[in-house]
């Protein structure tokens, strides 16, 4: 195993090598404080406002992918082998503004301008990887991670509709541009061996080999696994948690795989939420709304599905759906592997059936079963980029006689862990799926959970909404004529 201690990434066309920095230095701190590139802004330092958005270019399947991410919670240590694009990178060779910048100028998309570099970078992602004529939905999705307090977004939406109005001569990043040089450059930077970055009382290991990772974690069971860092970044930034050892899994190529087999989809630990959802949506289109409302585009580009599951927050959004679908997790410790139904992983508040040094090697999602009805609903104060007050998921199979053959109901935001509604399930099982059964199940839900009151919602609200979401599922599953979701009206 070869060891080295540098971070190499492409910046403005040149390979940039970083050594000797604290491994928890964020990309934002590095840009602003070390490089004096102050175009990228800090608005919150927690991934919520998008002022710090930068774009990462990565090689995938021989193509370059452009992914907006939040620089404020991402460690520079995770940029190895990638290209970092910041707002300063966009000037044309003749000094002109990039089309996304010019569109914002022409449509008056900036007022105070503080959010603007972040919007520029999210729009760059849309411009390079999105549809040529983005509709409102595509625009909202691309901008879901950017807050603007001044404009009301209207002029930014208009600008987003006009990105392709401009020529691409002398523009450093444009759709369909010849990328062979960029590809070659990135290929030359492929990480290998294990990087070990040491800072003041902090060490970060970044192996590239899966077995090496497993071994390192078994040897350092006290280490904190780092995946996309969308949770961990905040622990460092906001909570100042004392963590002395990080084990970064994002450089392990084998972890970045989605496999389809007889059991279903097997999603590896480095697979981003964006990629995971894309694969899951092919199987379960009912996940579409949850996908859109899960964090934001840049958070989904960094964060992983396995990380969401492994973090195990009671308000994590993927777990209710995954539990309802009967997903399993594959855990690995050294060379030992075992599998659990996902709901069995969660023991109590932030406590899991996972021993030190054991990590989530995959989330396995079964293929849809014929006749299965499935839905998941997220409820939050704001439609986009908000944390759930309640998130419910429902999977139902009816027998030929119309009776409930199998039903799995799971909620987030209702208990100390993501949790199945055992009472409600029992109230439905074996009965015709009718109004009487629904009423019993809604009543039973009250006994399934004792939710809390916090800034997001009161316990009473959570209880009532949990029951109401079940009735929405019933309405949709039994086929009502009138729309029952706001998203159907937009």
């Amino acid at each position: 195993m070869s060891e080295h201690d540098s971070i190499r990434f492409v910046l403005d066309g040149r390979v940039h090598t970083v050594t000797g920095i604290d491994p928890t230095t964020t990309v934002l701190q590095y840009l602003r404080e070390h490089l004096g590139r102050t175009g990228t802004k800090e608005g919150c330092a927690e991934g919520d406002c998008g002022a710090c958005t930068v774009v990462l270019a990565e090689l995938r399947d021989g193509r370059v992918q452009y992914l907006p991410i939040n620089a404020c919670i991402r460690f520079v240590a995770t940029l190895d082998g990638k290209e970092l694009i910041t707002v300063e990178s966009l000037r044309g060779t003749d000094g002109r503004l990039h089309p996304v910048q010019q569109a914002l100028v022409d449509h008056h998309g900036s007022q105070c301008g503080f959010c603007t570099p972040g919007f520029v970078m999210s729009l760059l992602g849309l411009y390079l990887d999105g549809p040529a004529q983005p509709d409102r939905r595509a625009i909202d999705d691309a901008l879901s991670g950017n807050l603007c307090r001044c404009t009301g977004y209207r002029p930014i939406i208009t600008a987003a509709q006009h990105l392709r109005d401009y020529g691409t001569d002398a523009v450093p990043f444009a759709p369909g541009q010849d990328e062979s040089a960029r590809i070659a450059q990135l290929q030359g930077l492929r990480p290998d061996g294990t990087r070990v970055l040491r800072g003041d009382g902090v060490t970060l290991y970044a192996p590239t080999d899966a077995d090496a990772f497993a071994r390192l974690y078994a040897e350092h069971p006290q280490a904190t696994v780092l995946a996309g860092g969308t949770d961990v970044g905040l622990w460092i930034n906001k909570q100042f948690r004392p963590i002395d050892t990080f084990l970064y899994l994002g450089d392990v190529a084998a972890f970045d795989a989605i496999e389809q087999d007889a059991q279903g989809l097997c999603i590896g630990p480095a697979v981003s939420l964006s990629r995971a959802f894309r694969a899951l949506l092919d199987a379960y289109s009912a996940l579409d709304e949850l996908h859109r409302r899960f964090a934001s585009t840049p958070i989904r580009n960094s964060g992983t599905l396995c990380g969401n599951v492994a973090n195990g927050s009671p308000i994590g959004d993927s777990m209710p759906a995954l539990i309802a679908l009967g997903a399993r997790v594959r855990l690995r410790h050294g060379d030992e592997r075992r599998e659990l139904p996902l709901d069995a992983l969660y023991l109590d508040y932030m406590r899991q059936d996972r021993r030190p040094g054991e990590f989530v090697e995959a989330v396995i999602v079964p293929a849809p079963r014929a006749g299965q009805r499935f839905a998941t609903y997220k409820v939050s104060k704001r439609i986009d980029q908000d944390i759930s007050a309640v998130c419910g998921a429902y999977a139902l199979e009816l027998a030929a006689d119309g009776r409930v053959h199998d039903v799995r109901i799971a909620y987030g935001g209702m208990a100390a862990t993501p949790k199945r509604a055992a009472g409600a399930e029992a109230a439905l099982r074996g009965r015709p799926f009718d109004e009487a059964a629904l009423a019993d199940a809604m009543r039973a839900l009250a006994g399934d959970f004792t939710p809390l009151t916090d800034a997001r919602a009161s316990a009473d609200y959570r209880r009532e909404v949990a029951a109401n979401l079940l009735s929405r599922f019933w309405l949709e599953a039994t086929g009502v004529a009138a729309p029952v979701r706001l998203s159907e009206l937009a």
């Binding site: 004096g36 590139r37 102050t38 800090e42 608005g43 919150c44 330092a45 927690e46 919520d48 406002c49 910041t86 300063e88 000037r91 503004l97 910048q101 010019q102 914002l104 100028v105 008056h108 900036s110 007022q111 105070c112 301008g113 503080f114 603007t116 909202d140 950017n146 807050l147 603007c148 307090r149 001044c150 404009t151 009301g152 977004y153 209207r154 002029p155 939406i157 100042f240 409820v379 104060k381 704001r382 986009d384 980029q385 944390i387 007050a389 800034a455 997001r456 919602a457 009161s458 609200y461 009532e464 909404v465 109401n468 979401l469 929405r472 729309p483 029952v484 706001l486 009206l489 937009a490």
Partner: protein, 769 residues
């Protein structure tokens, strides 16, 4: 000069910094290269809402890595205060804690992070005291920051008693965090001979200058404050930046080094003031047509622990409690409640919105009670022309355009047909319900503190023909600098590209007012015009002399000056004038005419004029969860003769959505111990992109010059559109009402969060059973 031949006035010019915003080159305070060796500060905050400090042990803070110094009240050589009106805001509190999040001390360290980490290490022992957290609690306890005020007009009690219909009720509206994207920040740089240079993200450089001087025990002449641009202000950078700047200066004084104090978002939200939340009680008597015969209105606001700007904020709430409606017999009582929470402050509208939401709620209540269309009730109460045209503070409404504006909007938005369509939808839709509402805005323009209505500018024409303009206003995104450049370009008839506008600085224009009350371009545009006219007059006199014609025969047009037979490019004339020893720089000054107002009797003409607008909002609600969606908005807004329609439209759209956020998704939530739990964007939700409706029609009212002689007959636009957001709230209320029996009065307070909406839906359904 008329608009017809205008060079830049009325054109949709881009923001003067747009190219810098999009390229990341625009420098905000944190982006300016700081002097070598600059240190970084952070505040140590109290953890309790109310109590005495028994002991404060800062040894662990000092011992933390990177820490250079700690500062407390004892390190302040001058006055430990940043309150501008009443001196009751300590920079660092000494013995008494009055809200959770109050600064106790400061840490200075080698990095921003080190300072933040160290600040948490203090060991503080408190003797906790009971805390009053809400306006209602404080009202019951008789706890106020200022005496209560009252305006009574006519004979409200008798009129209410005699009215055919009567209603009473209670209502409440939440506060709002400014959530400017750029947090509070200041950089204090010690200079020679006891002088100071302060970079501050502030709407009020002069106040920062004074507060810093007083804290340091020096005078205004020793402190220069500079401000190029803010990443948003919205009123949150009117009085609050003085705290940040003064603390940074105290830290810099103690360490002898430059200190940057940039608040982390959580600290910013915990320790800076917000929009006042209000609680109301009302009683109205009205006729069959919905016209109010008499009203009694009680307004109680949560001011927080100190006075700050609560006086004028609550005054403005009282002034605006009429909105568009003539209240002939009315009694208005305003309580300014003292609570153990952060001291609330200016926020776009400055209390006006909190007055207007109340009367809009009352209008809706009356309409529901009578079973009439709320729009008809509103129109029945509009101010008249030539009759019913005096406000409750004795000002004649001379520029009333409510009726034509609202009529036009109702027609163009198809209000009546859509009301029927909404009803049809609701009849067939058990789960989702739609609602529709049209609400008007009438907003008074001028600072109610009359002396604030003055401004200065400084214009330099260099002898190469390039121009610098400086004025006392600050740029926070609203486009003030763009408009001022337009004014100067227009007056000198030159290409705006010749003109550079420079950072607001207290050593260029002194004694400036806050850039607030929407007055930025009204005041500073006029001051800049005054300066430009002086220069122009001198250039004209010089050219006239050269050409042997009268000065008024000299024509300025598009970078050229023509006098009789002679003609000069602008730069050439300037050069010649310089050589002939003509003064090419000057100052400009303006004070708003006509206004006067007697605070003792709450009467006079506090406002130079009114700005008008109206919005129609259509929403849908989900009766299973209480979630809402804004589906469509139609807006018609009055900016007089627009100086720049692109910028004005930006203010209208942005203000509207910010108003919607205030009344829907933005909820400030304190736990029972008085700690604000929503102190970051993860928990405090301002509108996101998808909250802008799928369909919108937003227009400026055309051919509507200001009756008053404002700058090119334009009207102020910063604040008025904020209140257009009330339409969205009333539309939600309309949708909730659709769940109940006809005539039901949904018990819905603002913000209409999903939880609040669901509770209201449940209530009207239960009542209908």
């Amino acid at each position: 000069m008329s608009n017809a031949e205008s060079i830049t006035i009325g054109r949709a010019r881009e923001h003067e910094s747009a190219h810098l915003h999009v390229s990341g080159e625009a420098r905000y305070t944190d982006d300016v290269t700081a002097p070598a060796g600059t240190l970084h500060g952070a505040f140590g905050l109290s953890r309790i809402a109310h109590g005495r400090i028994r002991s404060l042990d800062l040894a662990p803070v000092l011992a933390a890595p990177g820490v250079v110094a700690v500062v407390t009240a004892a390190d302040i050589p001058g006055e430990n205060n940043y309150g501008a009106v009443v001196h009751d805001d300590p920079i660092f509190t000494e013995a008494l804690v009055e809200y959770a999040g109050q600064p106790l001390f400061g840490v200075v360290a080698t990095s921003h992070d080190a300072a933040r980490r160290a600040a948490r290490r203090a060991r503080v022992e408190y003797e906790e005291l009971p805390a009053l957290l809400s306006a209602r609690e404080a009202l019951a306890a008789g706890s106020f920051v200022l005496p209560s005020e009252r305006i009574t007009r006519g004979e409200p009690d008798a009129r209410i008693a005699a009215a055919p219909h009567r209603l009473d009720g209670e209502y409440a509206v939440g506060g709002q965090d400014h959530f400017y994207l750029e947090g509070q920040i200041a950089l204090a740089v010690p200079q020679e001979d006891g002088c100071w240079r302060i970079l501050s993200s502030t709407q009020h450089p002069s106040e920062v200058q004074h507060v810093v001087a007083h804290a340091l025990g020096v005078t205004a002449k020793d402190v220069t404050v500079e401000m190029r641009r803010m990443g948003g202000g919205f009123g949150g950078k009117e009085s609050q930046p003085a705290l940040i700047a003064a603390a940074a200066a105290v830290m810099a004084r103690k360490t002898g080094r430059a200190v940057k104090l940039r608040l982390d978002r959580d600290d910013d939200m915990l320790l800076t003031g917000k929009r006042h939340d209000f609680w109301y009680r009302y009683e109205v008597g009205f006729g069959d047509d919905g016209r109010i015969h008499g009203a009694r209105l009680l307004l109680a606001s949560r001011c927080g622990y100190s006075v700050d700007l609560s006086g004028p904020v609550n005054d403005r709430a009282m002034f605006h409690v009429d909105n568009a409606y003539c209240l002939e017999h009315v009694d208005i009582v305003s309580h300014r409640c003292k609570t153990h929470t952060v001291s609330n402050t200016a926020f776009r509208g400055f209390g006006g919105p909190q007055g207007m939401v109340l009367i809009e709620q009352v209008m809706d209540e009356i309409a529901r009670h009578l079973g009439r269309d709320p729009l008809e009730v509103r129109r029945a109460n509009f101010y008249g022309i030539g009759e019913r045209d005096e406000t409750h503070y004795r000002m004649k409404v001379e520029d009333n355009i409510l009726e034509p504006l609202v009529q036009r909007l109702a027609t163009e938005s198809d209000y009546h047909a859509r009301r029927a369509a909404v009803a049809a939808f609701n009849a067939a839709s058990p789960v989702l319900k739609k609602g529709l509402a049209l609400t008007p805005v009438k907003f008074g323009i001028s600072f109610t503190a009359t002396h604030y209505n003055q401004a200065g500018a400084l214009l330099h024409v260099y002898n190469d023909g390039s121009v610098q303009i400086n004025h006392g206003g600050t740029e926070m995104g609203q486009g003030l600098h763009t408009k001022v450049v337009q004014v100067v370009a227009e007056e000198l008839a030159i290409d705006p590209a010749r003109i550079r506008i420079t950072a607001t600085a207290t050593d260029k224009v002194p004694n400036t007012s806050a850039t607030a009350a929407s007055s930025g371009s009204d005041l500073n545009g006029m001051a800049a015009r005054d300066a430009a006219r002086k220069i122009r007059a001198r250039l004209a006199a010089f050219a006239a002399g050269q050409a042997g014609v009268a000065a008024d025969a000299v024509v300025f047009e598009r970078d050229r000056i023509v006098a009789g037979e002679r003609e000069w490019p602008f730069a050439a004339l300037v050069k010649a004038a310089y050589l002939a020893r003509v003064q090419l720089w000057d100052s400009g000054y303006y004070r708003t005419p006509k206004i006067h107002y007697d605070r003792a009797t709450f009467s006079g003409r506090p406002f130079y004029y009114f700005a008008y607008g109206a919005a129609v909002a259509e929403v849908a609600i989900d009766t299973l969860t209480g979630e809402t969606r804004l589906l469509r908005v139609d807006i018609l807004h009055d900016v007089g003769s627009s100086l720049n329609p692109a910028l004005d439209l930006g203010q209208v759209e942005g203000g509207f959505l910010q108003g919607v956020g205030w009344l829907t998704c933005e909820e400030l939530w304190w736990n029972p111990r008085g700690e604000l739990a929503t102190h970051a964007p993860s928990t405090y939700k301002i509108p996101a992109c998808s909250d802008w409706p799928a369909e919108w029609h937003v227009a400026l009212l055309e051919r509507a010059p200001n009756r008053e002689e404002t700058i090119y007959r334009s009207k102020a636009v910063g604040e008025p559109p904020f209140m257009l957001g009330i339409a969205a709230f009333q539309a939600i209320r309309d949708a909730v009402a659709a769940c109940g029996a006809p005539g039901c009065r949904p018990p819905l307070d603002a913000p209409a969060t999903p939880e609040a909406v669901l509770r209201a839906v449940d209530a009207v359904r239960a009542a209908g059973r």
